[in-house]
């Protein structure tokens, strides 16, 4: 039984890794080798593709831009979503259910619908081509998801803790930060992971709202597909490098995912 399981999961992971291996493989090849024939490992091993990215500011600034707006987005998302998720989990108030569904409905809004209005809105308030504009735009789908996930985790914490802290004389902000947040840190980790992930991989909005100064790496990659043909090697190397920041984040949250969450309500 266990052997069969092990075989199954190994097979699945292999399927997952094959395209990744292909990308990695290509990133170490010269363009000539990529286009001339199919080789399972690089014959002329080269680090040139990576060198291009690390020495050309128009390439590596893309990574910096992406990381800046993703970080801003994660921070904003958590700061506004935490108190809201607490309120949804603990209190009944006017319009709570409608507000909750309305929030969720924004996670369902197709970015294509909002492209043009977003462009106009952020241009008119002078935020076009800034990191904060992309970070705010990504809040449209990240905040609702974070509220949803955090609400589940918070509902899993018994109310007695809140009442005990109140009796002990803690003020609400002090209770929230000192006692409550450590209790739901798994939830915060998971919410942060999802916010990071969806902001990091999104292209449509990020590309529309930036031109030069805040251009994300994924947009720079599309731009290189230019007149002189595609520089596959560099493109593959850039692709490999986009995975690395995400891997670091997963490394930090893996234990939160592995401890399990059933999500109180829903």
């Amino acid at each position: 039984m266990n052997q069969r399981k092990g075989f199954g999961i190994t097979f699945y992971i292999l399927f997952l890794m094959l395209p990744i291996y292909w990308l990695l493989n290509m990133s170490f090849k010269t363009n000539q080798e990529i286009l001339s024939s199919l080789t399972l490992w690089p014959k002329d091993f080269t680090l040139n593709n990576y060198a291009v990215i690390f020495t050309d500011p128009s390439w590596y600034s893309g990574y910096i831009n992406s990381m800046i707006y993703v970080s801003i987005n994660v921070v904003i998302t958590l700061v506004v979503a935490l108190p809201a998720a607490y309120a949804f989990s603990r209190y009944k108030f006017v319009g709570d259910k409608h507000l909750f569904f309305w929030l969720l409905s924004n996670r369902m809004a197709p970015p294509a619908v909002f492209l043009l209005p977003f462009f106009q809105l952020y241009s008119s308030i002078g935020l076009f081509d800034t990191h904060i504009a992309v970070a705010l735009a990504h809040c449209l789908f990240n905040v609702p998801l974070a509220v949803w996930i955090l609400e589940g985790f918070i509902s899993g914490v018994p109310r007695e803790y809140d009442e005990m802290a109140y009796i002990d004389g803690y003020s609400f902000p002090k209770f929230f930060i000192k006692i409550f947040m450590p209790m739901i840190r798994s939830g915060i980790g998971v919410a942060a992971f999802f916010a990071f992930m969806f902001s990091w991989v999104e292209l449509l909005l990020a590309r529309t709202l930036t031109s030069v100064d805040a251009q994300p790496i994924s947009a720079i990659m599309t731009r290189t597909v230019g007149a002189s043909g595609i520089d596959w090697g560099v493109l593959a190397a850039a692709g490999v490098l986009t995975i690395i920041p995400g891997l670091l984040v997963v490394w930090f949250v893996r234990n939160h995912v592995a401890t399990g969450f059933a999500l109180g309500r829903v």
């Binding site: 969720l104 977003f118 609702p144 994300p216 995975i243 997963v250 995912v257 969450f261 999500l263």
Partner: protein
């Protein structure tokens, strides 16, 4: 959990409300505004009422891409949800191997969507791509840029590759939250493997599955970047999905009025389906 009535809680949700209203309501109002006008330039537009809506609903290209979209989303859910549950059940439960599995599983999720398209674009090529070449070598004449069925197969395979890990991660986490006592009780009762899954694991996975299904439905219904990079919507328009039709209309042809009307209809469809699903799943046992 019993909830306490407290209208002051509004202060806690106010930041979220303002933030989301800013990034959702204002643009949505703009879209509504566009959808009822014919726009010639920044300062010249005139009222056309529901003209655009009527026009859009009769447009055959849109109906076709809506049809394709529905088939695609249905296929995605039918394949990815059971597969994700299966993978979660197969994953090691603890230790270093579990960590390794989690990290490897998360890799496809962390790749920007256009890069995913690029990877598969090369991976599937018949001459220099491992997958395309392998398919041809074992006797299928496979060419995703020329053959409709191959293109569909590749787009679906790419989506399954890309998103099944999300379902698996959520389910894995849901499974880990089941207390050991449940399994011990099942063992004492000599429950079969299937009974354990059907009566212990599946019900306990419900809340994470709701999230997984909704996320997969929403995201597959909005899919844009990946098929655009992979096939460009072709061959012909066989893999042109809703978002792409919409973007072409709004940005490519600058047909703003029609695109806005289409956007609203699109948004309403997504909203309606999600609402139906959400209420159907959450309400029956919330009142218990």
């Amino acid at each position: 959990m019993r909830k306490v009535p407290n209208n002051k809680a509004w202060w806690l949700v106010l930041p979220v409300f303002i933030l989301v209203a800013f990034s959702a309501l204002i643009p949505l109002m703009t879209v509504v505004n566009y959808s009822v006008q014919d726009i010639f330039g920044p300062n010249s537009a005139y009222w056309v009422g529901i003209e655009w809506f009527r026009d859009v609903l009769r447009n055959e290209a849109l109906q076709e891409s809506l049809g394709r979209q529905i088939i695609f989303s249905a296929a995605v859910l039918i394949i990815e949800i059971p597969l994700g549950i299966g993978v979660a059940l197969m994953m090691p439960t603890a230790g270093r191997r579990a960590s390794l599995c989690l990290i490897l599983l998360a890799i496809p999720l962390l790749i920007p969507w256009n890069v995913v398209g690029t990877i598969w674009q090369i991976f599937g090529r018949g001459d220099i791509g491992l997958f395309g070449r392998a398919m041809n070598e074992i006797g299928f004449s496979y060419n995703y840029t020329a053959d409709t069925a191959d293109a569909w197969f590749t787009v679906l395979l790419m989506d399954v590759w890309h998103w099944t890990p999300l379902v698996a991660l959520l389910c894995y986490s849901g499974l880990r939250a089941i207390p050991q006592a449940f399994y011990q009780a099942a063992e004492i009762d000599r429950a079969s493997r299937w009974a354990v899954f059907r009566y212990i694991q599946l019900p306990r996975l419900k809340s994470v599955l709701v999230i997984a299904v909704l996320l997969r439905f929403m995201d597959s219904f909005m899919i844009y970047t990946e098929p655009f990079v992979l096939t460009g919507g072709g061959p012909g328009s066989s893999t042109t999905f809703l978002s792409q039709t919409l973007t072409t209309m709004a940005v490519g042809q600058f047909d703003i009025g029609r695109a806005a009307a289409f956007s609203l209809i699109y948004f309403l469809i997504v909203l309606l389906v999600s609402w139906l699903f959400f209420t159907a799943i959450t309400y029956p046992d919330r009142d218990k």
